[in-house]
Amino acid sequence: MKAVMSMTLGVMTAIGGFVDIGNLVTSGITGARFGMTLTWAVLVGTIGMALFAEMAGRVTAVTRKPVFHVVRERLGVRVSMVNAGASTLLNVLTLAAELGGVSLVLQMVTGISYLIWVPLAGLAAWLVIWRMPFQWMENIFGLLGLGLIVFVVALFRLPTDWPAMWHQAIHPGVPAGQPAPTWWFYAVTLIGACLVPYQVIFFSSGGREEGWTSESMTEMRVNAFIGFPLGGLLSLAIMAAAVPVLEPAGIQVSHLNQVAVPVAVAFGRAGLAVVFVSFFAATFAAAAECALSSGYSVAQYMGWSWGKRHPPGAAARFHLICLASVIAATAFTLTTIDPVTVTIFAVVLGAAAVPLTYFPILIVANDARLMGERVNRRWANAAGSFFMLIMVVVSLASLPLLLLTKAGQ
């Protein structure tokens, strides 16, 4: 019974944990502007994430070391330094976007400018890293993040034209009157939002924090193969909710509060309250995970002790890096750059760096000397290579599209 309990808990936290500011913003924008024609991008991103998360989780469970711990031995000093450096910078940028998201949610609720909330959000995120036990952090915010299901329920209250949306999803194509490059740009942002580097860094390091062993393989696989896809479904629900409400009225999403409007139309104040709580939980959990991931990347590269399972004093430099990234992200967000724009840039730059983050996972999961009989099967390699190809294409297309469409104008 206890195993089933912890399994369901794991799935729920994976669902709640999957969605972050990147998914909220990109799903809201694309739903309002392109309807459901970009459903395929969310599916590609989610399946790719589930696949590589399972591989990374398997490496962690078998070797009892997070996957990026082995990267420096595999890619050599220079290449792995580029990998660690790039993912740390990306983690800080994503952390800035997440802190911006948390502050925007608090602005939605209180009406007080988000800039006031940024330092408080940063301090709260750091306090969670500093003292909140790892399991609590996962469970509390993961479960609260489940509130996003309100978008799924809202679809049944809203005048949703299911056949038309289903048709759009099945026959993806640039909707009439919309510029093709912008459509492809948002496809890249949706895929990037699902494959944000910190998520796989956190998934595998978190697995080590929770002490996964070969016995916890099923729990890990349930998290990866059920938790993440359901998280992807939530992103689709947010996109779908915008179609019956925002698209007909010609409303383009450029602020986070517009993403919540469809639930207000469906359920009024009660619905809004649930959205506020789940938006807060999703972005706040992501902020804590981002800060931890920058600590994980640097500490695992340098061989320092890391993780929340040690008292902070025993992993001093790890906590120093986490603290520094929270301060840097808070300062970056306080420069009043619009958090939504920061999110788009973080997601697109993430998409550009995706192969750098995911390629080592594919390699390490194939080493029989490390993985024993848990090495990648043929299907895992075939699917992994297929998605790696997609990731390379997405990565090559991301920056040109960013410049061409001036971040999705």
Partner: protein, 110 residues
Amino acid sequence: MAVVSDLASAQLAARLGLRGQSFPAFTDGNITDAENDADSVNSTFGSRQPPDSRSDALRQKMLQALSDATSALTDLRVAVRMDDRTQVTKALAEVGGALRHFEGIQQELQ
């Protein structure tokens, strides 16, 4: 057209407010965002020089529509903050008018 989106967004938010389906801070946030976006469109559009006379007439009409839109949004924000239902409904009518004005211009452009 970005301004059409701002007008529609503010209109929807105000209607939700009137129907009690939203929180004051949330309605106000949506309308203020719309107003700020419309202002920035207004200022960037105003600074551009038209190439020839036909587009100059069009530009005058557009400038007029833009300033109507921004003032309508400001009236709406003020009304919502005063929480005065009649003022809000009046401002909503103004926003609706600006919206129809823009739809007219869009027909003309096609």
